[in-house]
Symmetry: C2
Subunit: 107 residues, 2 copies
DNA sequence: ACAATCCATAACCATTTGGTTATTGTTTTG
DNA sequence: CAAAACAATAACCAAATGGTTATGGATTGT
């Protein structure tokens, strides 16, 4: 279970990988081809990044003919969120956010 | 500003570094000596890890005679939290937690 | 059938990373 | 003052990382 968290942290340590994950959360499912155009590195590089993200369960893939569609799996961020809760002690910021939210909900 | 976030992500990608940061948040200020006993690697290794954490602003240090005391600076986790907010879309889980917290605060 | 497209894998390379031992500069202690 | 303790730095090393080009296997289009 701790190894899972480690995979998530390591996977997101690389900016290209974060960019790919961001793109997938923003735009939804994408083919490797589309991601390659976006990422600014070669197609094999993208494939390798996707493999790392897959190991961390941050993305899933679906084969459709000759193309592979990848999509983000944001639930897999849970270990990172939990870690922040345990050791970050971010109550302060969380309260700020709540306050802000409540104001927006009940102006 | 984006470089700052990158430093935080990279700094926390290593399990030893996370362990050191965790130890500092749990136990408060510690000398390099104490951290070395805890971390299970050599003193120079710990010093190097602390340098990386320092670059990410995750720790601060204070010299006192021949020893250096380090302490965690959890505010520096903000870029990671913000990133999770933007791309992780973890509102659901966060609300659950907040609800829970508010109940405990006001029973 | 053949050519082109899509993606994964292989093979390779330079750089970074995480660790080590050795050394050095300060402080503290005997 | 001499010796020991603390922490940073230097020098070094093996392994991991992030990238590349080349190749191959499957699918699609002409």
């Amino acid at each position: 279970m701790q190894a899972v968290a480690n995979n998530v942290f390591r996977a997101l340590a690389d900016p290209t990988r974060r960019a790919i994950f961001e793109e997938l959360t923003r735009q939804g499912e994408q083919t490797v081809h589309a991601l390659t155009r976006y990422a600014g590195v070669s197609q094999p590089a993208v494939s390798k990044h996707l493999t790392v993200l897959k190991r961390a369960k941050l993305v899933r893939h679906r084969r459709d003919g000759r193309e592979t569609h990848y999509r983000a799996q944001p639930d897999a961020l849970a270990p990172m969120v939990n870690w922040l809760d345990l050791y970050g002690a971010f109550w302060r910021e969380r309260f700020d956010r709540l306050e802000n939210l409540l104001q927006r909900m009940d102006p």
